[in-house]
């Protein structure tokens, strides 16, 4: 009986960084464990300001946002916060130092009392996802092995559903909403739009609407079809990187280089948009890598840099100019229309390794 008394029944998950790629897994996992999830509010300017207040000015925007969300959770009265440290997702395939050191930053910059659940995933040191989950559970004082294993399975199930739906072309929010409410829906009809672009960006930059300043919605309003990392399977991304003659170095490389490379190689899109936070180390290299290959292939590319001061007006102007340029180019070439093939599904087995490598 003691064990049940001691266990923590409420966990706060900040809506930032790993939330955007892995939340479906976390949701299934914690639900099965019987832990209630408290989510922080969606990102607002207020949250960003609060976050920036705590860290030094050179810190990048996503980390500032993360800190802001942690503060938001504390203000909501949630005193157990989930701050995973995802060090590496493969042998010597590491994350950025700031993402690796998230718990260290949070521990040291916030001077309020709270409990931090800080599991580590480090495949270079052979700390796999199983250890990650058991670590999480034991920090929540849950020591029932079979329960944790069931919870992992439930996590995979929700995550698989989410990935399937997102890949079929559902928007991120819709896919997430469906996955959490245990609905399954696949977008059947693919409207052919005159232009299509691929966005290479971290999930936490792109799907956070405040950070990306509604980039996807803005493009869709301009009648442009948008592809993101959710539309590309892990294997395709990995193979595309190799096909370009590059080697995966960063944990997030599949989201960025992999996605852009996939569409660059099969010429499905008219242009590439790279969106990165100012001062982002990995992005500066990955965007450059793709720019190098895009230039070789004659593919137009736009590099958008964002930080907490990004003005929406300047952002829109650059976007409009880029789209205008794309459509003019296409008209000049005779309007060869790209017919979008339906996305093929990989078997569930291959999806399994998808999580945390994406």
């Amino acid at each position: 009986m003691n064990m049940i008394k001691d266990r923590i029944n409420k966990i706060g998950i900040p809506r930032a960084i790993s939330y955007y790629n892995n939340y479906p897994f976390y949701f299934g996992f914690f639900k099965k464990l019987g832990v209630d999830i408290v989510l922080s509010d969606k990102t607002t300017s207020d949250i960003i300001n609060k976050g920036s207040h705590y860290v030094v000015s050179d810190t990048c925007l996503p980390v500032k946002v993360f800190v802001g969300h942690v503060i938001n959770l504390l203000e909501k009265g949630c005193d157990t916060i989930f701050v995973p440290s995802i060090q590496s997702t493969g042998y010597k395939i590491n994350n950025c130092s700031k993402v690796r050191g998230l718990p260290e930053i949070i521990r040291n910059v916030i001077d309020k009392p709270f409990k931090m659940i800080e599991p580590t995933l480090d495949k270079t040191e052979n700390i796999g996802l199983r250890d990650f989950c058991f670590d999480t559970a034991s920090q929540l004082n849950i020591n029932d092995i079979s329960l944790v294993e069931d919870a992992m399975k439930e996590g995979w199930r929700v995550y698989d559903n989410f990935i399937m739906m997102a890949k079929s072309g559902l928007s991120y929010e819709k896919a997430l909403h469906n996955a959490i409410n245990d609905k399954f829906e696949i977008k059947q009809i693919e409207l052919v739009k005159p232009l299509s672009v691929v966005i290479m960006a971290h999930g936490y930059n792109l799907f956070d609407e405040r950070i990306s300043l509604y980039l996807i919605k803005k493009l869709e309003k301009m009648n442009v079809k948008v592809y993101t990392s959710l539309n590309v399977s892990v294997e395709d991304a990995r193979n595309s990187i190799n096909a370009l003659g590059e080697v995966q170095y960063w944990a997030n490389e599949l989201d960025l280089t992999g996605t852009a490379a996939y569409y660059l190689l099969n010429k499905k899109v008219d242009g590439i948009i790279a969106m990165s936070a100012f001062g982002c180390g990995p992005d500066s290299l990955m965007a450059e890598e793709i720019a190098f290959h895009a230039k070789k292939d004659g593919m137009p590319m736009l590099h958008l840099n964002i930080d907490e001061h990004t003005g929406e007006a300047g952002f829109v102007t650059r976007l409009e100019a880029f789209i205008d340029m794309l459509s003019r180019k296409k008209r000049k070439l005779g309007g060869k229309r790209n017919i979008v093939k339906p996305v093929e599904y990989k078997s569930k087995e291959t999806e399994k390794e998808a999580i945390f490598t994406k």
């Binding site: 590491n94 910059v109 001062g279 982002c280």
Partner: protein, 388 residues
């Protein structure tokens, strides 16, 4: 998994025609030169890092990359212009952007149309084997004595010059005739550079110590001590850090730099069986425990651990330097503000990049020097009163 992902060995250049070059980083030249000369290979030294070099680097690299890369690239370009055809570089993947340097540089150099062979050796696992393999590749030298000679002289030179530097930092604020230590250091730099025999090199360290001890110092002077911490390259490269040790030393402050090339070399290359004492990194991990539970790449944990160590061992302040947008050091900067408060030690963080003006930094350093000096005097007065 292959360790040599980035290094495609090019065998088209004849061994006889090879002219080796490597990027500059502090006093690394002395050891590399000894090693390469021991193996009977030809080499070219790129010109010293200057504004001109930096300009070449900035021109040819992307905007967001960090400062060390820009200087490395400039070194490559200048060496190639001077006639080098083999570039050597070590690499430690999985730490930060550093692991991508050679990959990026190769692309840029190819774009500029240079013909060269880039020889990269990994510093992550099986270090000695990879290092030997790399040097075999460029020299085709099979004589084990030559390897012994090269490594022995290289190591001993590194130890000697680092000892000289340590003594210089100690003596500079205390010397009675200003400039003497600096002169002595320059003299020894030249002697160390010119020594070639194995036997002489082994004696170098002892002779350096003897000679520095002859300099007259004022032992009663109040000299605040400062730890110089931060990113590896910036610490070791005097151009990038604007000779911060000299600036501090001239202000009457003893600098204790925690990262020395020879220490690092010893730790990295020596098999762990022979490495008995607690390494710098292990010490840092032990001291940083309260603030950091995991290493996150780069020198972050060393910076934090050393700060705690300094605070508990009577050091008066920390000067923390890093290149702009250095990922691991931004994390440590975040953590240091708390460490500074809790361990009660002043920390000055200086961010360096190609835009940094020297005057602004000097003002900040002077103010910091004043602060720690006054703190020290106040503390020693308090001590004296208690004794009375």
């Amino acid at each position: 998994m292959s360790n040599n992902q980035y290094s495609q060995r090019d065998n088209s250049i004849r061994t006889k025609d090879r002219i080796i070059a490597w990027p500059r980083m502090g006093n690394i030249d002395l050891s590399m030169k000894a090693l390469v000369m021991g193996l009977d290979a030809k080499f070219i030294l790129p010109p010293k890092n200057t504004n001109e070099a930096l300009e070449i680097g900035v021109k040819n690299s992307i905007e967001d990359i960090c400062l060390p890369y820009k200087l490395n690239l400039a070194n490559y370009i200048m060496a190639l212009e001077k006639g080098a055809n083999t570039l050597m570089m070590f690499q430690a993947p999985g730490s930060c952007r550093f692991g991508n340097y050679t990959k990026m540089a190769q692309k840029t150099l190819n774009k500029l149309g240079y013909k060269y062979d880039m020889c990269v050796f990994d510093m992550y696992q099986s270090k000695m084997k990879q290092t030997l393999e790399a040097f075999w590749h460029v020299t085709r030298c099979l004589n084990p004595y030559k390897y012994y000679k090269g490594f022995s002289t290289g190591f001993n030179k590194a130890f000697a010059i680092d000892t000289a530097e340590r003594l210089l930092f100690y003596i500079r604020p205390r010397e009675i005739h200003k400039g003497e230590a600096e002169k002595c250091y320059k003299k020894w730099y030249k002697i160390i550079d010119e020594t070639t025999s194995v036997r002489e090199c082994k004696k170098l360290k002892k002779r350096v110590i003897e000679d520095f001890n002859k300099i007259q110092i004022d032992k009663d002077r109040i000299v605040p001590k400062v730890f110089l911490l931060g990113e590896f390259f910036v610490l070791l490269d005097p151009y990038t850090n604007q000779e911060i040790e000299k600036t501090l030393g001239d202000l009457g402050i003893e600098v204790q730099r925690q990262i020395f090339f020879s220490d690092w070399l010893e730790h990295v290359l020596k098999p762990s069986l022979f490495y008995k004492k607690e390494s710098h990194r292990e010490r840092a991990v032990r001291y940083a425990e309260k603030y950091m539970k995991r290493a996150i790449g780069g020198e972050c944990i060393e910076t934090v651990g050393d700060t705690v160590y300094a605070a508990r061992h009577g050091i008066d302040g920390i000067v923390h330097i890093m290149p702009f947008s250095c990922m691991p050091e931004i994390v440590s900067q975040n953590i240091l503000s708390k460490v500074s408060k809790e361990e009660d030690i002043p920390v000055l963080t200086l961010v360096l990049d190609e835009q940094t003006g020297k005057a602004g930094n000097i003002t900040r350093i002077e103010a910091f020097a004043d602060l720690i000096r006054r703190r020290k005097i106040k503390r020693s007065k308090k001590c004296n009163q208690e004794i009375k």
